[in-house]
């Protein structure tokens, strides 16, 4: 990212997309930051054995 883009990012109001844990979005929202929450959890709740199986079964 160029120096000017970084400067713009820091000078303009933040617009945030938060993926996963909702607590981060709530904190930002309470501070007046525009935030879009995206519900997301790791496949199979993070169980790597099941996730590995799912990857072979075509989801």
């Amino acid at each position: 990212m160029s120096e000017s883009k970084v400067k713009t990012l820091l000078e303009e109001p933040l617009r945030v997309v938060n993926i996963g844990l909702e607590g981060f979005a709530k904190e930002l929202d309470q501070q007046g930051v525009k935030v879009i929450q995206v519900d997301w959890t790791p496949p199979a709740g993070g169980d790597t054995k099941l996730a590995n199986l799912l990857s072979k079964l075509g989801t």
Binding site: T41, P43, A44, G45, L50, A51, L53, L54, K56, L57, G58, T59
Partner: protein, 420 residues
């Protein structure tokens, strides 16, 4: 694409096609012994996966002692309980005999069962008549009032419905349910519209085949006063739709979900008739005046066959009124339930649509892979029974199918297609 993935994709396409092409018709009401010829004296079919007397919950025990008196196997409830504990009765799941039953879901020799025929595939499925709300056998009730009502269903309503249905070509259920969805039913905890539509369809034949106006009046009053009358028809319809989907090699689609008050069980097309079970969960909901969560029995019944075909909790968006009744929130939250279930299903039903969701088809064909991947287990709308025998219904709520059932099924399914 790997070969096994192609097999699964093709199998699931076939499974969904069979589901959507089903043509269920309510054709008759006959004694269970005629419908299920394997039934014998002292044989009791129950809701849910297999279980014995020792594992049964309070309302299930209450219903069993009641049905033993009703069938003349015991002179009273006390003797019936002793006989049951001594192993005098033979217990089997309804699902093993083309049948389903709500809550305790007992099916025995002389009870009348409704017959739903799937005219696309020629198979038939059975479910007992709905008894109404409150203190009834399906919620564990077993006193004289409950048994007298069962006798009336056997001696008056069953034969009258049989004559009426046989005088015509039956009642086509696919179109009736489509109308019910547009009228605010989800076919599990709200059946007001479909019960009314069924009564409207049957009334002329009930009248023209009746020779007893007093009995006819009682019948019309009973059906007209029972908002859940259609539930048992919807269940037999669900079973009739899902049975032809069983046993498709390579299909990860759920063919049955069911609970016996102790365990929750699912069956998957590609793994045949094996049950995958886990302890059943407690519904969260609203209670009738005078009752609380402390009175509630865990989740129970074969009625989850309704969710298995995309109705009930899956069609909550069609029935915002039920979201309030089961304590699931506002109308917009009801729509979210339906949209969320779309993430764990293979498709939508183009014939069963929800006007308030821009005619979105109900989410259809639960895929165990999607359930495990997303961590979203099926949402079920349910009645809540009192945990003690003989009391009856105490509320209604929402419950989730246990994720452990789907995880077990996924391991077995992977093995069945040669994946480890």
């Amino acid at each position: 694409m790997k070969a096994e993935m192609k097999v699964i994709e093709d199998a699931n396409r076939e499974a969904l096609k069979r589901m959507l092409s089903g043509d269920p018709v309510l054709v008759d009401v006959i004694p269970a012994m005629e419908a299920i010829t394997e039934l014998k004296e002292r044989m009791i079919l129950h809701a849910g996966p297999p279980i014995g007397w020792d594992g049964l919950c309070g309302p299930m025990r209450g219903a069993i002692t009641g049905i033993a008196v009703f069938e003349g196997w015991a002179p009273d409830l006390e003797v019936a309980e002793k006989l049951a504990a001594d192993g005098a009765f033979d217990f089997h799941p309804n699902h093993h005999f083309d049948a389903v039953g709500p809550m305790t879901g007992l099916t025995t020799l002389s009870q009348p069962v409704m017959v739903v025929e799937n005219r696309t595939f020629g198979n038939r499925a059975y479910c007992a008549l709905n008894e109404g709300l409150g203190k009834v056998m399906r919620f564990g009730g077993n006193d004289d009032e409950v048994l007298d009502r069962l006798r009336w269903l056997r001696d008056v309503l069953g034969p009258a419905m049989s004559k009426a249905l046989r005088s015509g070509d039956g009642i086509s259920l696919k179109s009736l349910v489509a109308r019910g969805l547009t009228m605010g039913d989800e076919m599990h905890q709200r059946n007001v519209a479909c019960s009314g539509l069924t009564l409207r369809a049957m009334s002329p034949a009930l009248a023209s085949t009746s020779t007893d106006t007093e009995a006819l009046s009682d019948i019309l009053s009973f059906i007209g006063g029972n908002d859940q009358f259609f539930l048992n028809i919807a269940m037999a319809m669900g079973k009739a739709i899902m049975d032809p989907v069983r046993g498709i090699e390579g299909s990860s689609l759920v063919t049955a979900m069911s609970r016996n008050g102790t365990d929750f069980g699912i069956r998957v097309s590609g793994t045949g008739d094996k049950w995958f079970t886990a302890p059943v969960e407690m519904p969260e909901g609203l209670y009738f005046p005078g009752f609380t969560e402390a009175d509630a029995n865990p989740d129970m019944g074969d009625s989850t066959i309704v969710e298995t075909i995309g109705l009930g909790g899956f069609a909550m968006g069609a029935a915002p009124a039920v979201a309030g009744f089961v304590g699931a929130g506002t109308a917009s939250e009801a729509a979210n339930f339906t949209r969320t279930m779309g993430e764990i299903t293979l498709g939508e039903n183009p014939e069963w649509t929800i006007p308030a969701l821009d005619y979105l088809g109900v989410p259809t064909g639960i895929d165990i892979r999607l359930v495990v991947e997303t961590g979203l287990s099926p949402t079920i709308n349910t009645g809540i029974a009192h945990k003690e025998p003989g009391v009856g219904q105490v509320g209604a709520g929402v419950v989730r199918a246990p994720m452990a059932c789907f995880e077990q099924a996924l391991h077995a399914f992977a093995q069945s297609v040669g994946v480890s």
